[in-house]
C-alpha cells in the first residue's frame, strides 16, 4: 500500500519529464543539425588552414592546425575593417529612414477615417515581396544612365543627371534599395502593434483634449515602443548582414569592390580565394559582434520600452 502510494507520484513525475522533451525533440533535432553543428564546424574550421605539405612549386595543399592565424589575418586586413566603416555609413542612412518611414506610414494608416487604407497598406507592403536580387536589378537599371528614364528626362531638360553609382551618391543609392524593400515589412509590424492598443486609451486622451498629433506623439509612439525596438533590432542585424544589394550592383559599377561590406569579404575569401578557414574566422567574429551589439541594444532599451526593472 505504502509502496503503491510512493511509486505513483514518481511515475507521474517521470511522465511529466518525458512529455516536454518529446515535444522539444523535433525542434531540438533541427537546431542541432542545422545550427549547432554548422556553428561548431565553422569554429573548428576557423582554427585550421590550407598549407603546402609536399613542397615544390606545385605541392598539394592540405588542411592543418594554424591556431589563431586566421583571426589575426581577419583583424589586420584593412579592407575587412574598412568594410565596417562603409557599413556604418550605409546603416546611418538606411536604418533611421526605414524605421522613420515605416512609423510614419503606420501612424497615417492608423488615423481614423483614412481613405484608401487597404490599398495604401498593400502598396507599401508589396516591395517587400519582391526578392532582393530582383529589386536590386530593377533599381540598377534605373540608376544606369542609358537605361534610366530619369537620365532621359534630365537630358531632355538639358541638365546632366547625377552619376548615382559613383562617389558619395553610391551609399544613398544602395541604401535606397534596402529602404524601398524594408519599409513595408516594418510598417506592418508597427501597424499591427498600433491596432493592438485598446480604444479606451484614445477615448481618454480625447476627453483630456488631445488632438490626433498629441495622440500620435504622446500615446501611440510610446505604446509601440517594444515594436520599435524589435524592428530596430531587425534593421541593425539586417545592416550587419548586407550582402545581396551591393553584390548584385557590383557588375554595374567599379565603385563597389569585392570587399565593400564584411560579408562580401567573407564570400570572396571562401569562394574566390579558396580560404574557407579565414572566411570561417571572419564569420565567427562577425556573429559574435552582432550578438554583442544586439544584447547591448536590448539592455539599453529594455527598461524604457518594456517597463522592466532589471
Amino acid at each position: 500500500m505504502a509502496t503503491a502510494l510512493d511509486t505513483r507520484p514518481a511515475r507521474r513525475t517521470r511522465r511529466r519529464w518525458v512529455a516536454p522533451w518529446l515535444f522539444l525533440l523535433p525542434a531540438a533535432l533541427l537546431f542541432v543539425t542545422f545550427l549547432a553543428i554548422p556553428v561548431c564546424y565553422a569554429l573548428y574550421l576557423s582554427f585550421r588552414g590550407m598549407r603546402v605539405s609536399g613542397g615544390g612549386p606545385f605541392g598539394v595543399r592540405s588542411e592543418t592546425w594554424v591556431g589563431l592565424d586566421n583571426y589575426a589575418t581577419a583583424f589586420t586586413d584593412p579592407e575587412f575593417l574598412a568594410g565596417f566603416g562603409r557599413l556604418a555609413i550605409y546603416g546611418i542612412i538606411a536604418v533611421p529612414l526605414t524605421l522613420g518611414l515605416a512609423l510614419t506610414f503606420a501612424l497615417l494608416l492608423d488615423l481614423p477615417r483614412v481613405a484608401g487604407a487597404r490599398f495604401s497598406r498593400t502598396a507599401i507592403f508589396v516591395p517587400y515581396a519582391v526578392p532582393g536580387v530582383v529589386a536590386t536589378l530593377l533599381w540598377g537599371f534605373l540608376y544606369l544612365p542609358s537605361t534610366s528614364p530619369g537620365s532621359w528626362v534630365a537630358a531632355r531638360l538639358g541638365i546632366g543627371a547625377p552619376d548615382v553609382l559613383h562617389g558619395a551618391m553610391l551609399y544613398p543609392s544602395v541604401a535606397n534599395i534596402a529602404i524601398w524593400s524594408g519599409v513595408g515589412f516594418n510598417m506592418i509590424i508597427l501597424y499591427t502593434s498600433l491596432r493592438g492598443i485598446p480604444a479606451e486609451v484614445y477615448e481618454a486622451a480625447r476627453l483630456d483634449g488631445a488632438n490626433e498629433w498629441d495622440i500620435a506623439y504622446r500615446v501611440k509612439i510610446p505604446l509601440v515602443g517594444p515594436a520599435l525596438v524589435l524592428t530596430g533590432l531587425f534593421a541593425l542585424i539586417g545592416t550587419l548582414q548586407v550582402y545581396g544589394e551591393p553584390t548584385t550592383l557590383r557588375p554595374m559599377t567599379s565603385a563597389i569592390s569585392q570587399t565593400w561590406v564584411p560579408l562580401m569579404t567573407i564570400y570572396r575569401d571562401a569562394f574566390t580565394r579558396d580560404d574557407l578557414s579565414l572566411a570561417a574566422a571572419a564569420s565567427v567574429a562577425l556573429a559574435l559582434g552582432t550578438l554583442v551589439v544586439s544584447v547591448v541594444l536590448l539592455r539599453v532599451t529594455q527598461k524604457r520600452s518594456f517597463g522592466e526593472v532589471s
Partner: protein, 434 residues
C-alpha cells in the same frame, strides 16, 4: 508505352548487348568492366559541350559521359575544390588555363602524363605549355583564346579610322574617334578585366609568375607591365577610352548604339558580342591585336580551357581517354567550331578553315585564316601561378579603385603583387618578390 517496365527492360538489354559487342576492340582501353558500361561525370559550361558529349556517347557505348553545368569558369572551379574535399568531385571537368595551377595545388587535377604520351605534337607549343607543369601533364587543351581586336568595321569606316597595328596607332585612333564623335569611344578599359590586362602585359613581355627549381618568383610590376598600366592610364585620363565595366546594361546599350567601337580580347569575343548586339552582326570584323613594337606579331592568351581528370576519378584511364578525344578528335572540333569556340588542337584549327566565319562577321572570309595565324604567334612561355584566383580578385579591386579615385594604375599592380606574395607565403610556398 503501356508496359513501361518491359520497355525499360528491353532498352537495357539492347544497351547491354551493344556494350558487350563494342567492348572488344574499343579504343577506350579501360572500357566496359564486368559490371557493364561505366559512367563518367563531367562538369563543363558553354553551349559547345553538350553536342560534343553527345558525339562521344554515340561513339563510345561502354564509357558513357554525363555532363553537368556547374557554372562558368570561376564558379565551376570553386565548386570543384569544395567537391574534391567532400570526395564527390566529377571524374572529368573543364578548367581554364590560368586556373589549372590552382586546381593542381588544391588537389583537384591529377597527373595524366602516362595516358597522353605523344599528344604534345597535336598542339602548338604555346598551347601545350598551358597544361604541362614541372614535366607533368594535367589536362588536354580544348579551346584557345589568343587575343585579337574585334572591331565595328562599319563605324570605323564612317569615322575614317584605319585598323591600328600598333598600340601607338591604337591611341591615335582613340583620339580621332572621340574627336569625330564625342559620344563614341574606341574601346573600354574595364578595370575588372584581369585576363585582358594579363594578355596585354604578356604581349609586352612580362612574366608575372616564374618557377626556378622549387622556388617561385612573383613580379607583377615589372617594366613591361608598368608600361602597359601607364598606357591605359593615359588613355583613361584623357577620356579617350571608356573606363567602365563590360557587359552591363549600360555598356550593351552603348555597344548597340555604335558608341563602343572595338574590344581587344580573346577570340571568343565575337560570340559574346553577338550575344548582346545581335542586330549589329555584319558590321563587325576581326584583326590581329595591335603590337607594342612595330613589326612584332606575338600575342597573349585570354581564356581558353583544358579538360582535366580529377583525383576523384574512379577510372582515370577512361577519363583521360575522354579528355584526349574532347581535345583532339575531329567530331569534337566540329561541334566546337559550330558553337563559335576556337579549337586548341592543330587539326581542329585546320578544320576551321573550311568553316563559315562567326555570326558576328558573316562577311569576313579570312576570319579563320587570321585566327590560325594569330594562334601560331601566341607566346609559348606563359606560366600562371598557384593562386591566380587571389591575383585576379586583388587586381580587380585595386584597379577599380585606381580608376575610381584617379590614382596611378601601376600602384594597383604593386598592390596585387603584395597580396599574391602574402598569400603564397601563407600557404607555405617558397616565393621571392621582385
Amino acid at each position: 508505352m503501356r508496359h513501361p517496365v518491359r520497355t525499360a527492360a528491353s532498352v537495357a538489354a539492347v544497351a547491354l548487348t551493344l556494350a558487350a559487342c563494342s567492348s572488344g576492340g574499343d579504343d577506350a582501353g579501360a572500357g566496359a568492366t564486368d559490371e557493364g558500361p561505366i559512367t563518367l561525370d563531367y562538369w563543363a559550361w558553354g553551349t559547345a559541350q553538350q553536342p560534343m558529349v553527345d558525339a562521344w556517347n554515340a561513339a563510345h557505348p561502354d564509357v558513357q559521359v554525363k555532363r553537368t553545368d556547374a557554372g562558368g569558369g570561376t564558379d565551376s572551379s570553386a565548386k570543384l575544390v569544395t567537391a574534391t574535399r567532400a570526395e564527390n568531385a566529377p571524374d572529368v571537368a573543364i578548367v581554364e588555363y590560368n586556373t589549372l595551377p590552382a586546381m593542381i595545388v588544391a588537389g583537384v587535377a591529377t597527373d595524366i602524363s602516362e595516358h597522353v604520351d605523344g599528344l604534345d605534337s597535336e598542339f602548338a607549343p604555346g598551347v601545350w605549355n598551358q597544361v604541362t607543369f614541372d614535366g607533368a601533364t594535367y589536362g588536354v587543351p580544348q579551346d584557345a583564346g589568343p587575343q585579337a581586336l574585334t572591331y565595328n568595321k562599319k563605324r570605323f569606316d564612317e569615322l575614317g579610322i584605319e585598323v591600328p597595328t600598333t598600340w601607338e596607332e591604337f591611341a591615335d585612333a582613340a583620339e580621332k574617334v572621340h574627336e569625330a564623335d564625342p559620344d563614341a569611344y574606341l574601346t573600354t578599359y574595364a578595370p575588372a578585366e584581369f585576363g585582358g590586362f594579363a594578355g596585354y602585359a604578356q604581349q609586352a613581355g612580362s612574366e608575372w609568375w616564374s618557377v626556378d627549381g622549387d622556388a617561385w618568383t612573383v613580379d607583377f610590376d615589372d617594366e613591361a607591365s608598368v608600361a602597359v598600366a601607364d598606357y591605359w592610364e593615359d588613355l583613361v585620363d584623357r577620356d579617350l577610352v571608356l573606363a567602365e565595366p563590360l557587359l552591363t546594361p549600360e555598356w550593351n546599350a552603348q555597344l548597340n548604339k555604335g558608341d563602343i567601337l572595338s574590344w581587344p580580347a580573346g577570340l571568343w569575343a565575337a560570340g559574346v558580342l553577338y550575344g548582346v548586339a545581335e542586330e549589329s552582326a555584319g558590321d563587325w570584323a576581326m584583326a590581329p591585336l595591335p603590337q607594342w613594337t612595330e613589326g612584332d606579331s606575338s600575342v597573349g592568351f585570354q581564356g581558353g580551357s583544358a579538360v582535366v581528370v580529377t583525383t576523384s576519378a574512379e577510372h582515370p584511364e577512361a577519363a583521360a581517354e575522354f579528355a584526349r578525344w574532347m581535345g583532339t578528335s575531329d567530331e569534337a572540333a566540329a561541334a566546337q567550331i559550330e558553337q563559335g569556340q576556337y579549337p586548341a588542337s592543330l587539326s581542329g584549327q585546320e578544320l576551321t578553315l573550311e568553316s563559315d566565319p562567326p555570326l558576328l562577321m558573316p562577311e569576313q572570309e579570312d576570319y579563320w585564316e587570321i585566327a590560325a595565324r594569330i594562334t601560331q604567334d601566341t607566346i609559348p612561355e606563359i606560366s600562371w601561378g598557384p593562386d591566380v584566383n587571389v591575383a585576379s580578385s586583388a587586381f580587380q579591386d585595386a584597379m577599380s579603385k585606381a580608376v575610381t579615385n584617379g590614382t596611378p594604375f601601376r600602384d594597383a599592380l604593386t598592390r596585387t603583387e603584395d597580396e599574391v606574395v602574402a598569400d603564397m607565403e601563407k600557404s607555405g610556398f617558397d616565393v621571392t618578390q621582385k
